[in-house]
């Protein structure tokens, strides 16, 4: 263990302070000033130690003491994480309100987990059993989610000498091993170090999100990575929140990194009232929130994504599928830039530090579907929002993110202006998981699904080309067949792609319903092209009335009978059209 060491402050400039006379190692946590503000060592230079401080530094003077705890920035992992809301360094915001009122003052510490609360520990192994690092030795029924208690990965492990059962705090020993190690319900893990796994596996199961454009056209795999870049007002946050609500992960970690305070409050007020479509329990019970809003200290914003992903990895190690939303990684990058410029480092592109790309890739690489240390499988899916200045995708954060992530959901301000939501541009977006996931779709949705998807993309692509002509000469000038294509594309856009996140039914669309809607649109297209070949005028084909009821299907819970009726009505109407010839 590194010993405690003391030094004194020499210089204060915003969130970055310099101390002298301190024995320190990189990323040691230190206590700064008379008020013992929490900070972290980020540079060592001769006798000087440079520290980023997680709290506001106003009023701090040179000459005040600094002491090194000798520990790294770490989070407490154990029962009590679920339903919590933390700031960037895992201080529970609920506890902070009790301790210091409605505004966030400084110099107050609070542990991430409650150390007084007793949890009902149920052992799953008995004396004499082998318990290697990562092994599950017991569980706590926390919400409707079970928190599995594991031997920490940095233990040696051994044979269980004694295991208890009953109510304990997170600090009490619940199991002793013959290696002399005592296992408690709480583990402490440094946030900047990825938790170990046995092996990374190929992601071949989709994260079903209930969002048609994502599941249908640009799916992300469990354990995959996706980026949502978009200018302000294009619906990044609404999309992130829809994913947090409806994705079929068992655990959701939502990091509000440098974003609006009211948005976090919205999540806090809304989630407890929303039901998980599968378990029927409030969504909040599977959620951990990290909120470091834009006006909270910038160094803690830098730490918040690490805090979040470490918590996500902890649940992954229990064998859960975890999805992690980071809103927004651009604010995280800006925090790095701000600290870097205070350090007077040589800047890279647009003032961002030269290590921006490395930090981003290290972070996204902590995603993955893995074989855990105990042989189970779990995953962390990382979905990062990016806020490119001026909506310009060529800026460094977007570009460096795109080099890493496999899924790109390009938000488009033009679409959101015409209230096409989710405003994801279907021409610019892509998913590199289509091939690995196609088998799953064959087996779980329909063998026709992959074909339908390709068909829909072709029509939409074709429409984009035709629109250029329409812009010049008007739609009447198009050949007959292409007038029909334009109509089919319009239906795909308005019925399939558009989804109303605020409608109680349409907010979540099952894979089955997605398939049924797609089939109905394809049926119209097939009937329309057939009628065209039989000589029906395109004007009559695009104006049949039976298809006008199709959009209502989206807002109908029990839609099966309705969609069947629409299909019948369309067929009947086309028969009539052909008879009229």
């Amino acid at each position: 263990m590194k010993g405690e060491s003391k030094g004194i402050l020499k210089r204060i400039s915003g969130p970055v302070v310099t101390a002298v006379g301190l024995e320190a190692h990189m990323y040691d946590v230190v206590q700064v000033g008379d008020e013992q503000l929490m900070g972290e060592v980020i540079r060592i230079e001769g006798d000087k130690t440079i520290i980023q401080v997680y709290e506001n530094t106003s009023g701090i003077r040179p000459g005040e003491p600094v002491s090194n705890t000798g520990l790294s920035l770490a989070v407490e992992l154990g029962p009590g994480l679920l339903t919590s809301i933390y700031d960037g360094i895992q201080r529970p915001l609920e506890v902070l309100v009790d301790k210091m009122g409605n505004f966030i003052e400084r110099g107050v510490t609070a542990p991430g987990l409650s150390h007084d609360k007793k949890w009902d520990f149920k052992p799953l192994v008995k004396a004499g059993d082998e318990a290697a690092p990562g092994a599950i030795i017991g569980e706590v029924q926390e919400t409707n989610i079970v928190t599995r208690i594991m031997v920490p990965p940095n233990f040696k492990g051994g044979v269980v000498k004694e295991i208890k059962s009953g109510a304990f705090t997170v600090d009490e020993v619940v199991c002793t091993l013959d290696s002399g190690e005592d296992v408690k319900m709480m583990q402490v893990w440094p946030v900047r170090v990825p938790r170990p796994v046995t092996e990374k596996m190929n992601p071949d199961i989709p994260l079903v999100t209930g969002q048609r454009i994502l599941d249908g056209l640009f799916p992300v795999a469990k354990g995959g990575t996706a980026a949502i870049p978009g200018p302000f007002g294009s619906g990044k946050t609404v999309t992130q929140q829809a994913l947090a609500k409806w994705s079929d992960a068992q655990i959701v970690v939502y990091i509000g990194c440098g974003e609006r305070g009211n948005e976090m409050t919205e999540v806090l007020t809304e989630f407890p009232g929303l039901e998980d479509p599968k378990s029927g329990k409030p969504l909040m019970e599977r959620t951990v929130l990290i909120a470091n809003t834009s006006n909270m200290p910038v160094a803690a914003r830098e730490a918040s994504v690490y805090t979040g992903i470490t918590i996500a990895e902890y649940f992954r190690d229990m064998g859960y599928d975890v999805s992690l939303m980071a809103d927004s990684t651009s604010r995280w990058a800006e925090a790095m830039r701000e600290i870097s410029s205070r350090l007077e480092e040589m800047p890279g592109e647009e003032g961002y530090p030269a290590y921006l790309a490395a930090r981003l890739s290290e972070f996204y690489e902590r995603a993955g579907r893995v074989e855990t240390l105990n042989g189970d499988s779990g995953s962390v899916t990382v979905i990062g929002a990016v806020s490119p200045p001026g909506g310009d995708f060529s800026e460094p954060v977007t570009q460096n993110t795109l080099r890493i992530v496999k899924c790109f959901w390009a938000l488009d301000a033009k679409l959101s202006q015409r209230r096409h939501f989710p405003a994801i541009n279907w021409l610019n977006s892509y998913s590199l998981y289509l091939d690995t996931l196609s088998k799953w779709y064959d087996e779980n949705v329909s063998p026709e699904w992959n074909g339908l998807r390709t068909w829909a993309m072709e029509i939409l692509q074709k429409e984009a080309e035709l629109q250029e002509i329409v812009q010049l000469v008007g739609s009447d000038a198009l050949p007959d067949e292409e007038q029909v294509t334009i109509e089919v594309a319009r239906m795909l856009r308005e019925i399939f792609l558009q989804q109303n996140a605020f409608d109680p039914v349409d907010t979540y669309c099952s894979m089955e319903k997605q398939y049924d809607i797609m089939v109905a649109i394809k049926l119209y297209a097939d009937l329309a092209y057939a009628a065209l070949r039989a000589g029906v005028a395109p004007g009559r084909i695009v104006t049949i009335t039976a298809k006008n009821d199709l959009p209502q299907i989206k807002f109908t819970q029990d839609y099966k009978a309705d969609i069947e009726a629409i299909r019948k009505a369309m067929e009947a109407e086309f028969v009539k059209l052909r008879e009229a010839l």
Binding site: G63, V97, F502
Partner: protein, 460 residues
């Protein structure tokens, strides 16, 4: 208090002082010139060798012979209920010939962040009487909604009309306006003050004025004084406060000026890399707190340089604020007031404040349908310029006309025309009724039957 005469460098608004005893970061500093004038500043960087002080007033007259006094505390301002009705300078000194503010409390102007757990979600609809805001970009209590405008556009008139007409229907709670001007001209000041006096708004208002010829650096503290006052009125005295900040562009220019003087590595277009964090420390000071009666609603005005919404100032603002109202030059040229372009405008908190029991059940869908219709009609204008109106299909011609009606009847209204939300929505329906019913795909059948003028008149 010890006075140092160890100034070794003065650059723009920055004064560098050597050989001091330990000085706190962000401490308030008084600099005494040889003629006795005292100027105020704040510590930007402190070490045992040199202290950097940012002076809020002009540095003219400060020299090596000036004395520097460190006060040992961060900038605090006196606040009291008596501030209502007062006109103060950009640094908080009385400007109306009245007495100094007698402090009921002295508050740190930096303002701590509201704990997200303590926040209350804003959801009380504010009726501004302007259709393009109420019906399509609804403002709610506790929201921060800026007006993105350009030079020469009537953003001040719009802000004044909102300040005049804003009310929560059915509520009689106490309200106040805090007005902070940063770098506006004397003429603009007169316009605001005349309107406040005409409507009697001044007695509910606290006015902070930093005019165009006042020191630029003072603009850094003006909004902080205003927001500290607003928070005091809201969270300690229970007022519903509307804060008007104008013009945020001037604030950002002052920020850039200081960054340049410190020789910092600049971000985009020379603005400091921390501008997002800095702006957030202003904009985020809005909202509601659980268990507290009052609220802070922010309406800031910024003029987009070159009408460019991707310029760093509107861009970073848009990422922090909860939407934006965009004032458009083309509409202004057409003589339409208020020239609000709804297409790039947005209110993020709209959904929380509208619907059954708040405004009307059809509100959201009517708004979406009008957006979609106007967006499509607006696109068709480009096509008409090429192929002529006759080449359009009947459907497209109707959409084109809808766009015209929308601008001339829905967007356009009088300076003192105060439309209720029902009037705005009914007007929306009237316009939508010019379109064939099957084009109204965003509205449920039930709502169409209930509100569409065609069915309504049958009932009547």
């Amino acid at each position: 208090m010890k006075e140092y005469r160890t100034i070794n460098k003065i650059a723009g608004p920055l004064v560098f002082v050597e050989k001091t005893e330990p000085v706190g970061y962000e401490e308030l500093v008084n600099i005494v010139q040889s003629d006795g004038t005292v100027k105020r500043g704040q510590v930007l960087d402190t070490s045992d060798e040199i202290v950097v002080v940012q002076v809020f007033e002009s540095t003219a007259g400060i020299g090596r012979d000036s004395g520097v006094r460190f006060t040992g505390e961060t900038i605090k301002m006196p606040v009291s209920k008596d501030m209502l009705g007062r006109i103060l300078s950009g640094s908080g000194k009385p400007k109306d010939g009245g007495p100094e503010i007698v402090a009921e409390k002295r508050l740190d102007i930096g303002g701590a962040a509201i704990n997200p757990y303590a926040r209350q979600s804003p959801e009380d609809f504010i009726q501004t009487g302007i259709s393009t805001i109420d019906a399509t970009n609804t403002l709610v209590r506790g929201q921060k909604l800026p007006i993105f405008s350009g030079s020469g556009l009537p953003h001040n008139e719009i802000a004044l009309q909102i300040a005049r007409q804003a009310k929560v229907p059915g509520s009689t709670e106490e309200f106040a306006v805090v007005f902070a001007a940063m770098g506006i001209t004397k003429e603009e000041e007169n316009q605001f003050m005349a309107d406040f006096e005409r409507t009697g708004a001044l007695e509910h208002a606290v006015v902070f004025l930093n005019l165009a010829d006042d020191p630029a650096v003072e603009r850094i503290i003006t909004p902080r004084l205003a927001l500290t006052t607003a928070e005091y009125l809201a969270f300690e005295l229970g007022y519903h406060v509307l804060v008007i900040l104008t013009d945020m562009t001037n604030y950002c220019e002052a920020l850039r000026q200081i960054g340049a003087a410190r020789e910092e590595v600049p971000g985009r277009r020379g603005y400091p890399g921390y501008m997002y964090t800095d702006l957030a420390s202003l904009y985020e000071r809005a909202g509601l707190i659980k268990g507290e009666k009052g609220s802070v609603t922010q309406l800031s005005i910024l003029t987009m340089p070159g009408d460019d919404i991707t310029h760093p100032i509107p861009d970073l603002s848009g990422y922090i604020t909860e939407g934006q109202i965009v004032v458009n030059r083309d509409l202004h040229r057409k003589g339409i007031y208020p020239p609000i372009n709804v297409l790039p405008s947005l209110s993020r908190l709209m959904n929380a404040g509208i619907g059954e029991g708040k405004t009307r059940e059809d509100h959201k869908k009517v708004s979406d349908q009008m957006y979609a219709g106007y967006a499509e009609g607006n696109d068709l204008r480009g096509l008409v310029a090429i192929v002529g109106k006759d080449a359009l299909s009947e459907r497209d011609q109707l959409l084109l006309e809808f766009a015209d009606h929308f601008e001339n009847r829905f967007v356009r209204q009088g300076h003192d025309e105060d439309r209720s939300i029902e009037e705005s929505l009914d007007l929306g329906w009237e316009l939508l009724a010019t379109l064939p019913e099957e084009l109204l795909v965003r509205i449920d059948r039930d709502l169409i039957r209930k509100f569409h003028p065609k069915y309504r008149s049958k009932e009547a």
